[in-house]
Symmetry: C4
Subunit: 229 residues, 4 copies
Amino acid sequence: MLKKIKEAVLKSNLLLTEYGLVTFTWGNVSEIDRNKNCVVIKPSGVPYHELTREKMVVVDLKGNVVEGNLNPSSDTATHLELYNNFPEIGGIVHTHSPWATSWAQAGKEIPCYGTTHADHFYGNVPCTRKLKTSEIKKDYEKKTGSVIVEKFININPEDMTAVLVNGHGPFVWGDDSHQAVKNSVILEEVAKMAYHTEQLDKDITQLSCTLLDKHFLRKHGKNSYYGQN
Amino acid sequence: MLKKIKEAVLKSNLLLTEYGLVTFTWGNVSEIDRNKNCVVIKPSGVPYHELTREKMVVVDLKGNVVEGNLNPSSDTATHLELYNNFPEIGGIVHTHSPWATSWAQAGKEIPCYGTTHADHFYGNVPCTRKLKTSEIKKDYEKKTGSVIVEKFININPEDMTAVLVNGHGPFVWGDDSHQAVKNSVILEEVAKMAYHTEQLDKDITQLSCTLLDKHFLRKHGKNSYYGQN
Amino acid sequence: MLKKIKEAVLKSNLLLTEYGLVTFTWGNVSEIDRNKNCVVIKPSGVPYHELTREKMVVVDLKGNVVEGNLNPSSDTATHLELYNNFPEIGGIVHTHSPWATSWAQAGKEIPCYGTTHADHFYGNVPCTRKLKTSEIKKDYEKKTGSVIVEKFININPEDMTAVLVNGHGPFVWGDDSHQAVKNSVILEEVAKMAYHTEQLDKDITQLSCTLLDKHFLRKHGKNSYYGQN
Amino acid sequence: MLKKIKEAVLKSNLLLTEYGLVTFTWGNVSEIDRNKNCVVIKPSGVPYHELTREKMVVVDLKGNVVEGNLNPSSDTATHLELYNNFPEIGGIVHTHSPWATSWAQAGKEIPCYGTTHADHFYGNVPCTRKLKTSEIKKDYEKKTGSVIVEKFININPEDMTAVLVNGHGPFVWGDDSHQAVKNSVILEEVAKMAYHTEQLDKDITQLSCTLLDKHFLRKHGKNSYYGQN
């Protein structure tokens, strides 16, 4: 079942190491089949080079394992919370990629300081509030998803495909898992440059709304004119 | 037509990845044939590893596609503005290379802090003013070129082969596209070292004019004595 | 004698270069046989690519060479001090890995700023006091171990598998030498991110105890649920 | 003539790229034959991958080309000034390696903040004064050597094998060119860690003299006990 998606999730997990986004097993990728309401996700704690298509775990949207002999990623409940609340998204990546994680640890959103950022994220990359003690103690991984969803009340997950979980690290999504991996690479690059920009000028202001609009919409708007048709 | 230049532009685009200047498709290279008044440029949004000589796009100096089935780079109008105003230059590179882009995002010129800089750029690497709202809304890419040209009223593009577009990133040029790529590598290295120099001493002053002259001119002046004859 | 441990120590030493933790010969790995009370350790000053299983040196817990023709690592006395005082540990790594060493040089413990840290180290990574002049002048390497042991009076070496020696660099341990190498990689990554976190916000506070507990214990506690059974 | 030294200088030049110390042709290595009073040095501006043993240039201690068809490195006069004044040294490396150069550009010596530094350099790595206008205008490369020699009036070049030329970059030496390359790698690593140490604590103090002595002398003193006999 879901052979094609398993293959895609396997490949996307392997891309995490290829793009240098992960140390050891510090990252996981999932993808959803919106017709079957099933999610394919990396098994917990298995090194990337030992992964095979067959080892991918299938869960339903409540977290029940539908297929597979291994435990799913310990972050599965976070993924599911996002799939359940963001019907637009098809794939999710979680890593501890160092630049994005440094911003998350500082508890700061990543301000939009340049057109590289504006080309891909429509505004500052948000950072969630800290989880409350009660949220950490019970259903921690699900609640990690809840604070993300809470943060996105007025944000469209298609315009903003990444978030920083306060004190933790980034969750990133896309139409499918491969797109989510690419967005993770972009987030890391944007986070690195924003860091250096702030060090160069502590009082730097963000890009103007006009320039943000121009760049995001020439790539993503209905009148976009970047790339080939 | 322009087989040789297409080959050169292809090679120079591939060098961008080899030198680590680009993520995904975030960079483009062009080269001009000054006799035919035609510019060969990368097609928009095509990954570097899919590029072939045949996919290169030929445009005239007004931006009309003269040859090729793909859309030219979305930054084509910027390249043309530079070719039209800087008759000395033969090739142009645009990237979002992270160190130079961090300076561009901070809206700061790169001060000449050392002889590495002085060996290659004759003074501080300038940063343009921000574009006005009207310039962003109409003919944005052409206007991106215009603010560069405006900045160079009193600067010779042969002495200063790079510029930072405010909030965006570097445009770099040279006698041909290969030289422009090499200058992009140098800019990135110089930008990185200037960043660290400032962090080590916030009150650092620039290199003396005498030392700037010495280094730039021993490599580029009419009495240059670096390298072989 | 100790063929298997020698093989393990050889492999772990080679991993130091593979993971980019060492320059030249700036690192050494050892592993103990708790039944025989013998320690296998890298020979002093021998480049990693010249190491063979036969070149590994075996010493007893007083530092007498039991087997091998080469001098043991100049840091052997530090390793032994740790093995003698921390009966729980099976392998030790010492490197001058740049991020952890920068914290050691600054004489600062690494604060726990995020869940990546909390997943692996149960609290701030401690930094020893400076050695006294008398300690430097006599039995320096043994005393380097003593200040570590002193620092761990109220710390469990199983909960905290790394320490920074003030002005020097990290010592890291684990159940065996391979685990110690992995912990060294993690320490380096955590040190890097903590550095950038502080630069982003000089007044950043540490992770809450609840979140530290949650992350450390879901991986290491008796009710841990990370990974496969 | 000098076949063996030419081979050594060729190899050492190639090591510069292997160790990531140079961009393009930004570095040169030389080695001296103290019996023949001849120096073998890299030809000026030739890419490393085009170098052959035959292309190495031989000069006497006054700078006259004794053998070879190419121009010697434009920094030859600096090398010669050092050979003429430091009879203890056998090989010299000059690069613009980014971390050491950042300190040179800031005009600051590299303080000894840790044992990594103390293992290799006996005290702070000095930085020369700026050259005077007259020194830049006449015999610039020779005068670059003179300010180094001036700085070493009370420093033994065997205890301190590196120097930063103010606003320029490092010159590094050793018993032969291979040792000088290794010292260049070490300098870069030490410069990087000192930078990060200062960022972590602006008021950091240097290593105690006792600890400096301990580390330098256990590797380099007459009673050294590091490595094999």
